[in-house]
Symmetry: C2
Subunit: 181 residues, 2 copies
């Protein structure tokens, strides 16, 4: 096991609890408003995180272990999280994310990855060759990209309310840096 | 009470628990590394949040109620959080932040602010006239500015580890937008 795996899992294991502590039963001002046309609400972000637990991280990891570079990853279905989340409250999505993340980390442990496994390669449909180690690190960094986004979406709701302080608050200067995953 | 106060307090009340769930006992890779020379670690950010609970938000709110614009706010002592945090572990700082935030929200409730109070003005040493309403909104948005920063600092530690995915992760394109508070 490469030393970094413990570090990665430690963070992956905490994200659902952190989002739960931050978001559960918060007023809708914070969770159901977006940053303008064609942008996400906090609820949309949590739906996306749950969806990737279902359809991406572990399937891609298994694809590397089973097929290496011969069979590229399936592209991310950007609309799947919208379909799955339809009619669900934020609190249900938080529960779903926590449950799926827990199951995935449990399964990851059963793989008992060996040092040589981390260098095994897969093929990303847009990025080309990536290693299993890249994938695991990206899983954790992706949590942070969306925590960063959640903080920005929430701050946006008070953009006017903070008055003259808006120029001092770094998060209000962030224009967003979103991209595919 | 203006409707927004409940919304503000709901968020202010959750931030300490969210940071605790995210950060307590995390490997030091995540909490004690910064983004380069003269930048903060996650521990430094939590120390700063605790310090502002001690020296800024409530003292400024009281200053508005007691002196209006006649006596400007004291400037923020940027080194105070370094002094107070010296020798303290992240976990102690998380506890301190949670305790001080809880006490401050308790005290805020005892003020029983009336609708007219939210328009009362104080004087910021750099920004000039600000209202009590601006100050309360900034308190909450400031939590989000630092949550945004924490996510960015943490993601930075995996900047290389994610390999080719680095260009897809929005948080890694964020150059930071920090400024005084």
């Amino acid at each position: 096991m490469e030393p970094q795996l413990d570090t990665t899992i430690a963070l992956l294991a905490r994200t659902p609890g952190a989002l739960n502590a931050l978001l559960r039963d918060l007023p809708e001002t914070w969770t159901l408003r977006n940053e303008g046309e064609n942008t996400w609400t906090v609820r949309d972000v949590v739906a996306h995180l749950a969806q990737l637990e279902r359809s991406d991280w572990m399937p891609r990891l298994r694809r590397i272990l089973e097929s290496g570079e011969t069979r590229p990853f399936d592209p991310i279905d950007r609309k799947a999280s919208v379909r799955h989340a339809q009619g669900k409250r934020l609190e249900e999505l938080l529960d779903e994310f926590a449950r799926l993340r827990g199951e995935n980390l449990e399964q990851l442990r059963t793989f008992q990855l060996q040092p040589a496994d981390f260098a095994r390669r897969g093929r990303h449909p847009a990025l080309g060759a990536v290693t299993l180690s890249d994938l695991l690190a990206t899983w954790a960094a992706h949590d942070m990209t969306h925590l960063h986004q959640i903080a920005r979406i929430m701050a946006h709701q008070y953009r006017d309310a903070v008055g003259p302080w808006n120029k001092f608050l770094g998060v209000l200067q962030c224009s967003g840096h979103s991209a595919p995953a």
